[in-house]
Symmetry: C2
Subunit: 340 residues, 2 copies
């Protein structure tokens, strides 16, 4: 297995990744916001032992990491790789993760809840991701006494997670729906049935690189299966809609758009994060339409690896201006791997 | 000899071309604006004979062309090549030219004045161009009786040309002075000493491709030699100023600018005339700074050959939208001749 962003896109590459997150808390323990560093240290050890001494495949494939031992660049690059939350990365409190080699599994210990079990895969793989998350949940619930109420379900610090504690989401690449101004309508109609659309990467709701995350809002009064099924139906419809919109594009105009992005990325000497993301988005579109016929180019891989902390993790801490030079050089080399 | 725009730039390539124009009229004949088509026809023949039967090198190297025989695309492409004036190209009246193979010499017959003798060369070649124009002037004045007044000098339809009838101009590529916002100041100071700065290519005074024409305004009370000497001094100063400004540019920023232009021109599938000119201007700058190291790329050649009528002369009449496709293909091929 490789990381979600290293997976080769199948078909049209519209579904970029699928993510499952389960929020769990241990009965009798204060929520993390009220825990001392000593309590947190104990929690870390408890969860570590529950997994690593479980004598299951997980005890071999997963690794415990104390966040104290993780350098800053590595920590924030984990946010860019969607492994941990920004809040978790910047928190000054004691915290730890349990993570798999390919980073598809990551359990945050001491985030908003005691445990946040996350599984993320490339492509549309909701069931597969849920299966793994459920196995972890079952394993952990064997030794940890999860806070559970027969009426409210799993208890969580924030009431919006009460019930299943499940947040399922799919990241979609929607450049053409976005280009046609269709995102606002889409967000509204998806909202009505209990889902949200948020831009991935970029501040607040601003989407960069035409990447959108569709996720369930409702965790109470709905089974995990129903939530997943509904998300899959919506996702499949959106993929079809984007695909149809792509087919009706003006051939020469879209070819021009994609090839210009290719020309810029393979020649620029300075490249901001935002421009890189928007141009890579066009490379991804061009690949799906057969305009950019480069098997060796993995747009999402470049997209993630050219993020600020990912670059600094590789090349050392530097200023934003220096980063634009390193980013341009890195992307130019990656894009140049296969000459068109 | 090749056309001015096919000449390889020497040094920094800031001086693109040098042009001499002499306005002459024949004594006893009405000015062209008052001539009948019959009068014009006679004028054409008179000038034709004066040159072609002169038994000089000119009688062999120059060719008479009746503008009636020139197709529309060819006619307007001559404007793009700076051989004839736009007014001359679009006039419905009888008119003719006498032209050399390399188009460096062109005598317009029946423009605003009876004769407009033009010599244009690539680079800074004012004296050489003036020498040729003067030889033609001497030859013609042998058989034609030019209207000349001992006080006013050569008589011309428009009083601004009275005196020497000389308009000398140099086309300069000034991207960095322009980028620093220095053109307005430059125009003002040049104006004070009797010269004008005008943008070449582009409507009105708007400059596209950072190309500016510096020319003398005064033709009365100044000798040809003085006018030329002054123009050469100003031109040399401007070239030095642009050169100095280029040397103090931020290396990585200018490299980025030039390489992006290269990336766009070698990949775009749609290219407007204006964008092409502005990007070629950066290629030209990049070449002069050693950033774009392609001997086989001739920026001014591409610049002129990708103009609308130049394209239609080659590929046939087409709409502006179609032209953008043909232009992109043509430029891509030219730029691709030498891979960086």
């Amino acid at each position: 297995m490789s990381s979600w962003y290293m997976k080769k896109s199948l078909d049209n590459g519209i579904a970029v990744s699928s993510r499952i997150r389960l929020a769990r808390n241990i009965k009798g323990l204060a929520f993390p916001s009220r825990m001392t560093d000593n309590d947190r240290q104990k929690l870390n050890e408890t969860v570590k032992n529950a997994i690593l001494e479980s004598n299951t495949p997980f005890s071999k494939s997963l690794k415990f990491i104390d966040m104290e031992d993780v350098p800053e660049n590595e920590k924030f690059s984990m946010v860019e790789r969607h492994i941990i939350s920004p809040e978790f990365a910047s928190s000054q409190k004691r915290r730890a993760i349990i993570i798999s080699e390919d980073e598809s599994i990551c359990i945050m210990i001491g985030e908003e809840d005691h445990l946040r079990i996350q599984v993320i895969y490339g492509g549309l793989e909701l069931e597969k991701a849920y299966d793994v998350a459920e196995k972890l949940d079952t394993l952990l619930s064997g030794s940890l006494n999860f806070a559970f109420d027969s009426n409210l379900g799993f208890l969580t610090e924030c009431p919006t997670n009460l019930g299943t504690g499940l947040r399922a989401s799919v990241m979609l690449h929607l450049p053409v729906i976005e280009g046609e101004g269709g995102i606002a309508d889409l967000a509204q109609s998806v909202n009505k049935i209990g889902f949200t659309v948020r831009g991935m990467y970029g501040e607040g709701s601003k989407a960069i690189g035409s990447l959108y995350q569709i996720s369930n809002q409702i965790t109470l009064g709905i089974s995990e299966k129903n939530a997943l099924d509904n998300l899959k139906i919506i996702t499949t419809q959106l993929i079809e809609r984007e695909q149809k919109a792509r087919e009706s594009l003006n051939k020469i105009k879209v070819e021009d758009l994609c090839m210009r992005a290719f020309g810029l990325l393979s020649n620029a000497r300075l490249l901001s994060s935002e421009e890189m993301m928007n141009l890579i988005s066009r490379i991804k579109l061009g690949q799906s339409l057969g305009i950019i016929d480069c098997e060796n180019i993995n747009p999402m891989g470049i997209f993630v690896e050219a993020q600020p902390y990912m670059l600094m993790r590789k090349f050392g801490t530097m200023s934003a201006d220096e980063r634009d030079i390193y980013r341009a050089n890195f992307v130019r080399e990656e894009i140049g791997k296969e000459k068109i």
